[in-house]
């Protein structure tokens, strides 16, 4: 690096070029060699380049959604008459035959694009822990989020947008820890985005004048460059000079990325952006369509969180709550799959839908279900995951996994694998130890892959 730098300097030492130009070149040089956000080669060539992680907060009942069970009322092992099957009825996808409950009709129709896991096992029986487990691999101690690990491992394509965007109208359990970079460098933390007119903080000038802002930045830049000329080996200073240019660009790029007005009518209709929806998850069509626009613009990892820590899928007393929540997310999620497919982007994008755990086969309260850790469903689409595939089998009431259990660490290892990263080599040295997303566990579930 220093040789190259010296070369650049000597190249200009006898020229008449402005000193400012020299420092600019050097700044570019040091930026390239030190910028953690530039795209990097993965460990191996891989099908997927980006991830859209859809997180359904509260614990979605597998029995009433993607692993429907037609259990009649009956007796479970504890001897009480509390067993309850899928309350919504179910139908098969016409092509692949996968059965999905009637509250997800749009998703049912695209199941031939989806790789469904019915044998997930949660890392904990309670919300906060299991939510953190699904996001960071650790249900107890704070660790970096999956999106931060991906950003750290691969960088990002668009320097004018954050590498890891979290679109979350409300915070899930675990608070900001779910998208924190923890001990990874801060540039890899999730940037939280709010549906609406002001998606990212500080995108708009408080005094509104673009001309004034430009003049101010011009003065800052001139003074900064003079300061830098005497400190030209400090790449942090160069990076910070550059960061103001990026920030300036972001003020333009970000609002454009989040503005759906340019989307044609048929696309808006596909996602249901203009549908009448209410309640938790009402922004979900906006979230899904923005996610596609962000992937198109080179954002590496996007997380969509449908609901916050309350109200959400935690239907202890009334399963019919699931129907309203499903209505809000079903069509947009299916649209996202179809839209990416139609644009030829699905192969390079992993869509992962997950929740923290499933719900019990036994009734709780009037018509609800409790938390269930031993089996639940998650699904993936695109990114080299087998379309139309169902992995894992649960028993007839949806209580235990009979075949092919998948742990959270396995899921993480497999997602990283499809991005070209070896989960055992994606490490960060912190406080005397090499940390991994998958801790000391994780098996690549090759049965899920094409």
């Amino acid at each position: 690096m220093h040789t190259r730098r010296a070369a650049i300097r000597s190249l200009f030492s006898t020229s008449l070029l402005m000193p400012g130009m020299l420092s600019q070149l050097l700044a570019e040089e040091s930026r390239e060699s030190s910028d953690p956000m530039l795209p990097r080669q993965p460990h191996r060539p891989a099908p997927a380049k980006s991830v859209i992680f859809i997180y359904a907060t509260g614990g979605v009942s597998h029995i009433d959604t993607f692993d429907p069970k037609s259990t009649k009322q009956g007796r479970d092992g504890s001897g009480s008459d509390r067993l309850m099957g899928n309350v919504f009825g179910a139908q098969q996808n016409k092509k692949c035959g996968t059965e999905v409950s009637n509250i997800f009709p749009h998703m049912r129709d695209v199941m031939d694009e989806v790789c469904l896991i019915r044998s997930m096992r949660a890392s904990h029986f309670d919300h906060s822990e299991a939510t953190l487990g699904m996001h960071t691999g650790s249900p107890t101690f704070a660790r970096p989020s999956m999106g931060s690990w991906v950003s750290y491992g691969l960088g990002t394509f668009n320097q004018n947008l954050p590498s890891f965007v979290v679109i979350a109208p409300h915070l899930p359990y675990g608070g900001t820890q779910v998208y924190a970079s923890d001990f990874l460098p801060a540039c890899h933390q999730g940037t939280r985005v709010f549906p609406g007119d002001d998606p990212i903080a500080n995108l708009r000038s408080p005094n509104g004048g673009a001309t004034l802002q430009q003049a101010e930045l011009g003065l800052t830049d001139a003074l900064n460059r003079r300061h830098f000329a005497e400190r030209e080996h400090d790449s942090a200073l160069a990076a910070r000079i550059k960061s103001f240019e990026t920030a300036f660009q972001m003020q333009l790029a970000a609002p454009e990325a989040f503005d759906l007005n340019s989307e044609p009518e048929h696309v808006r209709r596909l996602y249901g952006v203009d549908r009448k929806v209410k309640g938790p998850g009402a922004d979900f069509a906006w979230q899904c369509l923005v996610a596609r626009r962000l992937v198109e613009r080179g954002v590496r990892f996007i997380e969509l969180i449908d609901t916050g820590s309350r109200p959400n899928w935690d239907s202890h007393g009334e399963m019919n709550e699931h129907a309203e929540l499903a209505y809000n997310v079903d069509q947009p999620m299916a649209a996202l799959i179809l839209d990416l497919k139609q644009r030829g982007m699905l192969d390079e994008t992993i869509i992962l839908w997950a929740t923290e755990f499933g719900r019990t086969p036994t009734k709780e309260g009037k018509n609800g279900r409790g938390h269930h850790r031993d089996c639940f469903s998650v699904w993936l689409a695109g990114g080299g995951f087998k379309p139309g595939h169902v992995h894992g089998v649960t028993d007839e009431i949806g209580k235990y996994t009979l075949e092919d259990p998948v742990e959270v660490h396995d899921l993480h290892a497999t997602v990283l694998h499809q991005l070209g990263m070896d989960h055992e080599r994606l490490t960060f040295r912190h406080a005397g130890r090499d940390f991994r997303l998958t801790d000391v566990h994780g098996r690549i579930v090759t049965e899920l892959l094409t």
Binding site: G77, H227, F244
Partner: protein
């Protein structure tokens, strides 16, 4: 695969905890036939299947099978983590080894992965144990070809290397240190620090940078000690003194003294301590229960720094202040509050009936290890430390001390009240206040404890029987346990309700002694798999001290732990803190991994300097201010941050301190400075609790966690910090993570930071407030420019500065003719606040 078998068996942890090993030599007289048979049928099984995890190198579960003297025998209590004997000579059915290789349970089976041993192999092991488990002494082996077994001598070399690790050696002697300082005297050397630095620098053929200019230096030292810029007067005095004497030496000494005696010093260095001990005003459980009393500990820390409380005393009070004698109520309270350090350990979950105390204790040990000793002790919770000589026995030796300590309960979703906080009024007064309620609370507490004990007992039984019973039986057992747990939860709710009805006395988030007890090892870190009981002790590598019997019976042993940690023969404590101080002044530590002095950590760049500073700390009665003076009054600290081209090729990272390291302002310094510039910083300390809701109204759950925010214009150290929801500002500017020891702050550069400077209301507000002052204070453009540059950059403007800024002003005057003047000057201020010169300390 036998190798993996032994992973769970856990025999004696040899070399480093040989104290209670039973040496029962199988060696002795082994007949030729037996020798032959062992070598032919048994040793190959051990070599192929066991030794990977159970030899001197790994000793998983405290078991090693590469050395006969290491395997505990017949009838004696085994020293494995599990507390069971791997091999009982003549009794194959009593031998855990045989149980494990024949087990089909996932938990117990050995080897843990892959196929099980063949029937033939199992039969060979059985026959060998049956016939007395005779084991020829290792060194007498004549089959020199057996290289798959690490030889005893190789093994001990590995151990020796661990024990010889630099950090575990005593500090260099006074004589050694004196000699090395004398070796390098020159005009450049101002004090001993410079001697050590200069000799290494010269050895590496590096030139030394010029001294920094007085303005840069005044700013540097002010941020170093107070986290705030110097006042205009301090800058002027410093520059003038430097000009009149020709160097900054005298001026520096004076400014350092002035800053060290300012209360802002304690706020700055208290904040550093809070980084390391992961201070927060909430507990970190699912619902993030607020701890209104936490601020008492924070203020204790700030005061301790301001009063230069001797560091050994500082640590002792935080670990065992409640066990120290006190002459007055104030002193007693201060010492009680100090143990808020232990209370500050993270809380988890939402349930009182399955509360994971083992995780809270792990967090305690983890933080104590990193912060005070520079060791990653918590790695030994599930297995012996992979790299450092810390065994599982060492871990549970310390665990017992904290298991004998009563932590306060800050509240949980299913226990919405505070319990076991420590009163700050005289005991009689506390008793009198609670008199009417105490018996009810005691009865309900006892009821809860009884139910929790029943649950624990049942959980242990279930775990033990799990592998042997059918699925149906397991379900029934679990359902029964669930029933018991619900009863305990109800008992907890009754108790919490009673506590909420009772009046409260002023109290502290602090600890007390509980029933003293030794802990049992938790196999693989699982509390439901108890193993051998371990006496409370300090790690062997640091001395291995144990509690006297009488103390062990009467106390947790925290006071003794504090004494062991602060003992002058402990090679780590003084080194770790002087290195932390160095790191915060220079941006890097003499040992770069400031919280890890273990084998995987970094080597010291200047081991003798580190030892000299550590010796000075001890010699000065553990005065941290003395260490600051030594460092800040050194010539090394005065160096400019400018580069020297020829040095860059040799030492681009400045490991040898030939210049100063430029450092980015941390989140707190940035916010405090902006407020100060805007004239809005409230410098009075926060001496009352944050305006939390009243405990009677607490209904926080994981669905509705505590999320309040209490903005203020006080210094950032006083802002209320939550564990679950970080403030976006602190996320953007690399604030400390209140969940874990933050060794040092990242200095990231991101576009979101730039957006903050460009558009954030807060920045705009401070720029405007400063503009109001400028417009009143000065008439001419030039004067106003001078005013702004001095305020924001702490130096007079250069001619070029004035020209560039004036050009901007002139342009704006045309564009903004109709607007108030303050808007124009706010624009200038914003431009200056965005400068690298402002954001970095040169």
């Amino acid at each position: 695969m036998l190798h993996s078998i032994l992973r769970a068996i856990n025999v004696p942890l040899l070399a480093l905890s040989a104290t209670n090993l039973v040496f029962c030599a199988f060696s002795g007289s082994v007949g030729a036939d037996e020798f032959e048979r062992f070598e032919r049928t048994v040793r190959p099984i051990l070599a192929e299947h066991c030794l990977e995890c159970h030899s001197d190198q790994e000793r998983n579960g405290g078991l090693r099978l590469d050395d006969p003297v290491a395997v505990t025998l017949a009838g004696e209590k085994s020293d494995t983590d599990s507390g069971r004997a791997a091999i009982v000579a003549g009794e194959p059915d009593e031998s855990e080894l045989l149980k494990r290789v024949t087990s089909t349970s996932e938990e117990n089976r050995m080897p843990p992965d892959g196929p099980q041993l063949s029937d033939e192999q199992i039969a060979a092991l059985r026959a060998w144990i049956e016939s007395g488990a005779k084991w020829p002494a290792r060194m007498s082996s004549t089959s020199g070809s057996d290289q798959s077994l690490p030889s005893a001598s190789m093994a001990s070399e590995e151990q020796l290397a661990r024990q010889r690790h630099w950090a575990f050696q005593p500090l260099a002697s006074a004589e050694q240190l004196r000699n090395s300082v004398q070796a390098s005297e020159s005009n450049w050397v101002w004090n001993e620090v410079d001697g050590f630095i200069q000799s290494e620098r010269e050895r590496h053929g590096l030139q030394v940078a010029a001294d920094a200019n007085p303005y840069a230096l005044a700013r540097r030292v002010a941020y170093s000690l107070t986290g705030l810029p110097p006042s205009t007067k301090q800058v002027a005095d410093f520059a003038q003194a430097a000009a009149s004497t020709g160097d900054t030496r005298a001026a520096q000494t004076q400014l350092v003294d002035e800053l060290l005696s300012s209360p802002t010093y304690g706020e700055r260095w208290g904040r550093h301590w809070m980084d390391w001990v992961r201070y927060a005003d909430t507990a970190g459980d699912n619902s993030d229960y607020p701890i209104p009393q936490a601020y008492l500990y924070r203020n204790y820390v700030i005061d301790a720094f301001n009063n230069d409380l001797p560091y050994d005393r500082f640590l002792t009070e935080q670990l065992a202040g409640d066990l120290l004698p006190a002459d007055s109520l104030d002193e007693r309270n201060r010492q009680r509050i100090a143990t808020g350090y232990l209370a500050m350990a993270r809380r988890f979950g939402s349930l009182v009936e399955r509360y994971p105390w083992h995780l809270t204790i792990e967090d305690t040990i983890d933080n104590m290890g990193r912060t005070m000793l520079g060791l990653t002790l918590a790695c030994a919770r599930c297995h012996d430390h992979k790299f450092d000589p810390i065994s599982t026995r060492d871990y549970y030796g310390m665990y017992g001390i904290f298991a004998s300590t009563r932590y306060p309960m800050p509240g949980l979703e299913l226990f919405q009240a505070q319990q076991h906080f420590v009163p700050l009024v005289p005991d009689e007064e506390a008793r009198a206040t609670l008199a009417a309620h105490q018996s009810k609370i005691d009865a309900l507490s006892a009821e809860l404890q009884k139910k929790l004990d029943v649950c624990e007992q049942r959980a242990l039984e279930n775990a033990k029987r799990q592998s042997e019973c059918t699925l149906d039986e397991q379900r029934r057992m679990n359902d029964e346990l669930d029933g018991l747990l619900i009863k305990a939860r109800k008992a907890g709710e009754n108790l919490a309700a009673a506590i909420r009805e009772a009046p409260s006395v002023p109290d502290a988030y602090a600890v007390q002694d509980d029933q003293p007890r030794d802990a049992r090892i938790q196999i693989k870190g699982e509390p439901t798999r108890p193993g051998a009981q371990v006496p409370r002790k300090f790690p062997d590598i640091l001395g291995g001290q144990q509690l006297d019997e009488s103390i062990a019976a009467a106390s947790s042993g925290r006071l003794q732990l504090a004494q062991w940690i602060t003992h002058r023969d402990n090679p780590l404590t003084a080194r770790v803190i002087v290195n932390r101080i160095w790191q915060r002044h220079f941006g890097t530590g003499l040992v770069a991994s400031t919280s890890d002095f273990g084998l995987r950590g970094d080597q010291p760049t200047h081991p003798l300097l580190l030892d000299w500073l550590a010796s000075e700390l001890i010699r000065s009665n553990w005065s941290l201010k003395h260490i600051h003076r030594l460092i800040l009054n050194s010539h090394t600290y005065q160096l400019s941050s400018r580069d020297i081209d020829s040095n860059l090729a040799i030492d681009p990272a400045n490991r040898w301190y030939w210049k100063a390291n430029r450092q980015r302002l941390d989140a707190e310094s940035l916010r405090d400075t902006l407020l100060l510039i805007g004239g809005a910083l409230d410098l009075t300390p926060q001496s009352t609790p944050h305006p939390f809701p009243k405990m009677k109204d607490w209904k926080f759950t994981q669905h509705h966690p505590f999320k309040d925010d209490y903005p203020s214009d006080k210094r950032s150290v006083y802002l209320m910090t939550k564990r679950l929801t970080a403030k976006p500002y602190f996320q953007t500017f690399d604030g400390a993570d209140p969940n874990v020891c933050t060794s040092d702050r990242d200095q990231s550069v991101t576009a979101l930071q730039a957006l903050y400077f460009v558009n954030d209301q807060f920045v705009h507000a401070q720029a405007e407030r400063l503009a109001d002052v400028m417009v009143k204070a000065a008439e001419s453009d030039t004067e106003r420019i001078e005013f702004a540059v001095e305020k924001i950059l702490c130096r007079p403007p250069t001619r070029e500065d004035v020209e560039l800024i004036q050009a901007h002003v002139t342009k704006l005057k045309l564009q903004m003719a109709s607007r108030p003047e303050r808007e124009l000057w706010a624009s200038v201020n914003r431009s200056l606040m965005r400068l690298n010169e402002f954001m970095y300390i040169d």
